[in-house]
């Protein structure tokens, strides 16, 4: 076969979302790739400029639909800084609870999709089944399974329902042996190693040159985790380890994500213990009324005409399940943010795709792209 371009996407089982990977191949060897994005571009940054601060939360759940609470947390950290609000400590613990559960849920979703990519059928359902338990927990206190709308400027919407911590511990107890089962199905199989070892190599230096973060960077042995390097919320009071691997390949990313889930379980036990011992308010008491918190925002025109709210800039960075996410909120004293800028980790990870795809085979694209954990919602925003 001579050289040809094939379009993997936008309707393709490999893409896990709407995007198009154009691949130039000769035989089965990849010569060049060119990702085409934008199929899911909803202009979240623009819509945010037209919404009240709290209303932006509904967009955050849809930015990355498998890690909604992490993005809510990211946005709220920046927005609160821009609005000069400080949430109470219990609310911060609740947010960490959300984020860590979301990390496990997101990684389970990744696991399910990834094993499907390399042709493993049943672990796909195992991953989805165990993720469903976490969604049940989310539903029991946020009221929804995927679009939570749980965080508000100044704290969180509501406290945990009675008996939540026991249920959550049960789920964690269930999850830990499952991780071992996952490893048995993947790492225990020789075919898995044949498929994944040494694929998609990207060294730590290359990762940093091309802005690649998250499990991809950690799989190259670089220990960068914003939860540790630049603790936000209450991460400086929690005991956990940063998972790294040395392969810089697909197997390494698998190992990092698996270990991260175990570490998240470890964090969650601590957070649940803390929440049991420290009841308290979950919402800051001094809030600007026009923000609407804890109520929904009041979309009345001209509400601010006779108010002069202080200006500010908010900047936050969190370790989202996919990598380093960053929000930049400019508050010009209006009722809407003046400008919101999000940095999506998958955006940068995809931008570097040429450097970890070229030279491999067409059959290697699904495992490699699966190990990147593409979430098109946050790439296109």
């Amino acid at each position: 076969m001579s050289e040809m371009w094939i379009n993997m996407g936008p309707q393709h089982p490999m893409t896990h979302g709407l995007w198009n990977l154009r691949v130039r191949i000769e035989g089965e060897v990849i010569l060049d790739v060119d990702p085409e994005m934008g199929y899911l571009h909803r202009g979240i940054e623009k819509i945010s400029e037209d919404r009240h601060y709290n209303e932006v939360i509904t967009l955050m759940d849809r930015t990355c639909y498998v890690a909604g609470l992490a993005w809510e947390h990211l946005y709220m950290l920046a927005a609160e800084e821009a609005l000069h609000i400080r949430p109470p400590e219990r609310a911060q613990y609740l947010r960490v609870l959300c984020e860590e559960f979301q990390r496990i849920a997101s990684h389970l979703m990744w696991y399910a999709a990834f094993v499907q990519d390399i042709g493993l059928m049943s672990p796909f359902l195992y991953g989805m089944r165990d993720r469903d338990l976490i969604l049940d927990l989310f539903q029991s206190y946020t009221g929804a399974r995927m679009t939570y709308e749980y965080m508000r400027a100044g704290g969180v919407r509501n406290d945990l329902p009675p008996g939540f911590t026991d249920r959550a511990r049960k789920v964690l107890d269930w999850l830990l042996p499952r991780f071992h089962e996952y490893d048995q199905l993947c790492l225990g199989s020789d075919i898995f190693h044949k498929r994944c070892d040494g694929l998609g190599k990207l060294s730590a230096e290359e990762c940093i040159r091309h802005g690649v973060t998250g499990p991809m960077l950690r799989s190259a042995g670089r220990k960068r985790d914003l939860r540790r390097d630049r603790p936000y919320a209450v991460y400086d009071q929690l005991d956990f380890e940063v998972a790294v691997a040395d392969g810089a390949d697909v197997t390494g990313r698998y190992l990092v994500r698996m270990e991260e889930m175990r570490q998240s379980v470890r964090i969650l036990y601590q957070v649940l213990d803390w929440l049991d011992r420290h009841p308290g308010p979950v919402m800051a008491d001094q809030l600007p009324r026009w923000l609407g918190a804890p109520y929904a925002p009041v979309g009345r025109e001209g509400y601010l005409l006779k108010r002069n709210y202080p200006k500010g800039v908010g900047f936050s960075a969190i370790e989202e399940p996919h990598g380093e996410a960053l929000a930049y909120v400019v508050n010009e004293g209006g009722e809407h943010p003046y400008r919101v800028k999000f940095r999506s980790p998958v955006f940068a990870n995809l931008a570097a795709s040429r450097h970890y795809l070229v030279g491999y085979r067409v059959a290697d694209i699904p495992p490699i792209m699966g190990s990147v954990d593409v979430c098109v919602g946050e790439v296109d925003r």
Partner: protein, 258 residues
Amino acid sequence: MSDVTATEKPDENPILWVARPMATAARQFAKSLFRPSTIVYPYERLEDPKFRDRLDVASGKPFGVGQVWDNYRGVHALNIATCISCNLCAFSCPDVCIDMVTTAGSDPKHPKKCPQIDYGKCSYCGFCSDACPEGCLTMTTRYELSVSKRSDMIYPPERLFEVFRSKLPMNPIRLARPENEDAILLDPPLCIGCNACARDCPTQCITMLDVPKPEAKPGEKLPKRIWKEPVVNDSDCVRCGTCISVCPKECLFWGTRK
């Protein structure tokens, strides 16, 4: 905090190159042969009490599914009787899917407006029920919304009232009002005493009180106005801002009451 952890690979025994995953799959098969984790959806439902707390880790066997909790955000229920037509739900809707429409059978002279929700647009964020001061617009656990016509996605108030009457479990979480709420303040020199605010206030918390007509100083012309001024009862006020929007002179505004 301890240092880096290098994750270890399980030992690779080439003899077991397919045995380990196959044994795991077989174990799962034996487990789910009698009780799979799924439910047979149209015949069994998550809200069925028998699915409550099915997660029993110790036995490992009846590994179950979740449940629809009472605070699930599904279709809205509207109690038309207690709705005060304050518009707060419509104002707070980020998707602009709530319209205030006249309810059937209300007095044509003083039509009662209640929310109508377009579920084609609704994102189930729950801001409207959080904003509802009377607790008459709540979200229920109903989650089945498929219809065959797009117009059926629009629920008029009467249909929302039907949901209310079906006595579904409703979202029990009521948010506490913040302590430092702004109040409606008056800029007295601008007021003309026109009674528009008191007339349109959904809670009738505004009363028009007489103000003494000042003595006209020589050479000064008194403004032509009714010598009444609105007084807002803060404990009854729901902060909907209707008075501000109907005020012809823009003399009402938000502020902190001293």
